[in-house]
């Protein structure tokens, strides 16, 4: 898949149309001009979501009614589709070739992996960020998994209410069991599906993990079920059924669900030590890049095509040596979009990139390699 061009109206401070390069695209400009907004627009086009905010109406330009993000996507040499996301008030509509489409059909046309400051939560934040990372990955392979997650969260919400009621109304254990059992029954099935999907996904990641891309330290990952040490995980369905039975009283006392994959985690170790607690911020960034690259490879092995890779403020997140390694690795693989405010970085990579200068939300110049090589004399050859 290839994003050939992108046209944006009233999305944040952006306007105008840009034709992207097939390989590395460098979005360059001073701070506050809208570089990240362009990445966000690409991410929105691919996923219908923002990597910055849950409330998309914030992204409509002030005093405007309708924001439009429209892109031309080449699915193959012959097949091109125009994808479009409209934001109007709190409603979002999505279109393919000018016709409204369901989300299920829209997703999967274009896929994007984003490396942003917020995503660093995956390596240094709470387990929730890591569960989301895994779930995003599973969804990129099986869209139907979205429903499994939605059902799971719904059942947990319903059960939590019953657990609260049970302690407030001082129900007997038998009474509580009677009303909670129908929900636990579904939890067993849904938990098993989620457990299996995540374990499978982490195995796939492990198979392609470039453990030593940047460092001498060895990075390993492992799915950590909250039921670990409680019994035979290979028969997860029987194990969780037993745990739910045994722990009902504790769950009532707590007033919320204690058992299930919403308590699981992804362990990220470097040389056997926990990244979250012991990694330097440079190591954490490297680890996240390595995880993102693994997610990209897993996607490629499954779909036989690469997703887009978006890297926000590449300079702030990685040092030059790592950026070089990374961009070299990506060459010939993904269509990559990076933002930077450093002119020296542009000069360093201009020979193999399309460069777009952003000012006040607009792309004011796009330079093809030939043009820039002649203007950035010498530096292109010195790589």
């Amino acid at each position: 898949m290839l994003l050939e061009s992108l046209e944006v109206h009233n999305f944040r401070n952006l306007s105008g149309k840009v034709s992207w390069g097939a390989g590395l695209n460098i979005i360059y400009g001073d701070n506050g001009q809208g570089k990240t907004n362009w990445l966000e627009a690409i991410y929105l086009l691919a996923t219908t979501k923002s990597f910055r905010t849950q409330r998309l109406q914030e992204a409509i330009r002030f005093n405007e009614d309708l924001a439009v993000v429209r892109g031309l996507v080449a699915q193959s040499q012959e097949v091109q589709r125009e994808m479009q996301v409209n934001l109007q008030g709190s409603t979002k509509s999505i279109l393919i070739n000018g016709k409204k489409e369901s989300v299920a059909r829209y997703l999967g046309q274009l896929h994007a992996v984003a490396f942003t400051a917020d995503e660093l939560d995956v390596v240094r934040g709470t387990p929730e960020a890591r569960r989301k990372f895994m779930d995003r990955g599973v969804v990129s392979l099986h869209h139907a998994y979205v429903q499994t997650l939605a059902d799971y969260n719904r059942v947990i919400k319903q059960k939590n209410r019953l657990l609260q009621d049970a302690s407030e109304l001082e129900m007997s254990l038998e009474q509580a069991f009677e009303v909670i059992a129908p929900w636990n029954e579904q939890l067993i099935k849904l938990s098993t599906e989620i457990h299996r999907a995540r374990v499978d996904y982490v195995e796939r990641l492990n198979d392609v993990l470039e453990r030593r891309l940047f460092e001498r330290e060895n990075i390993t990952i492992r799915y950590v079920s909250s039921l670990e040490g409680k019994g035979d995980l290979s028969d997860y369905e029987a194990l969780i059924a037993e745990r739910l039975r045994l722990r009902l009283q504790a769950e009532i006392a707590a007033g919320y669900s204690l058992i299930g994959p919403h308590r699981d985690d992804l362990e990220i170790l470097f040389d056997g030590r926990e990244m979250r607690a012991f990694g330097s911020s440079g190591q954490q960034r490297s680890a996240l890049i390595i995880l993102d690259l693994a997610a990209i490879s897993v996607y490629y092995l499954w779909h036989n095509e690469y997703p887009l890779f978006l890297i926000d403020d590449v300079d702030a997140e990685l040092d030059r040596k790592r950026i070089s390694y990374l961009l070299e690795y990506l060459e010939g693989r993904t269509q990559t979009f990076i933002t930077t405010s450093k002119e020296s970085l542009v000069e360093q990579f201009v020979a193999r990139a399309s460069v777009f200068q952003v000012s006040d939300g607009r792309v004011v110049s796009d330079a093809s390699k030939e043009q820039l090589i002649s203007s950035a004399t010498g530096s292109a050859e010195s790589i």
Binding site: K157, V179, P182, E185
Partner: protein
């Protein structure tokens, strides 16, 4: 100050109470009422009155009806050994449209949803268990109870709850299958449905 004269505002407010009706629609409906002949309005009012006056719950199956027991429960041609449990009267109509089900029904008028405060006691469930006794069913023993609640988490929980109640009584309890809509091309089936259909595939 009110935008419209009091009687008009009152009417708009009443329309706004209806499900799915927002301010603009309510306004349009109110002005429609103002334009139509009085006889039409009378007919409408009478229809509203009549439905409230005449429609009751069937004392056997809880379906909406104007005679008790309802036409299904009273019909001698229905198979009294089967009961199909549905959430809402319009779900009953959907099953009935198949013309292949000839048994009886039981309407719950809802599904379990703790977050909306709906527990087993809020469903019309109390009169289901007694129906399984032959003496309450024209001497016929119920062989099978089909749980046709909706295929979402609330419907699943409701079906599960009922099956736990019924199993000890010895009746066969079944759940309707989920999967492909018939008569459509595979390509028009959404992925979640397709996924379920694949998981529930059967030997040929």
């Amino acid at each position: 100050m009110l935008d419209y004269a009091e009687p008009v505002t009152k009417l708009i407010d009443e329309f706004k109470r209806l499900p799915g009706v927002g301010h603009k629609t309510a306004q349009r409906l109110a002005f429609h009422i103002l334009r139509v002949p009085e006889a039409d309005v009378e007919r409408f009012v009478e229809a509203l009155r009549e439905v409230k006056r005449k429609i009751i719950f069937c004392s056997v199956c809880n379906n909406l009806t104007d005679v008790d027991p309802c036409r299904y429960c009273a019909s001698p041609s229905r198979d009294r050994s089967m009961i199909c449990v549905v959430e809402e009267p319009y779900n009953l109509v959907a099953v009935e449209k198949t013309r292949s089900y000839k048994g009886l029904y039981h309407v719950l008028h809802g599904s379990l949803s703790p977050i909306r405060g709906i527990g087993p006691d809020d469903l019309h469930l109390a009169n289901l268990l007694p129906r399984l006794k032959p003496e309450n069913n024209d001497g016929v023993e119920v062989q099978e109870v089909i749980l046709a609640t909706n295929p979402n988490t609330e419907g699943e929980a409701t079906a599960n709850y009922i099956s736990r109640l019924l199993k000890p009584l010895g009746a066969r309890v079944t759940r309707i299958a989920m999967g492909m809509p018939v008569g459509s091309d595979l390509e028009y089936v959404d992925e979640v449905t397709m996924d379920k259909a694949l998981a529930n595939r059967h030997e040929m």
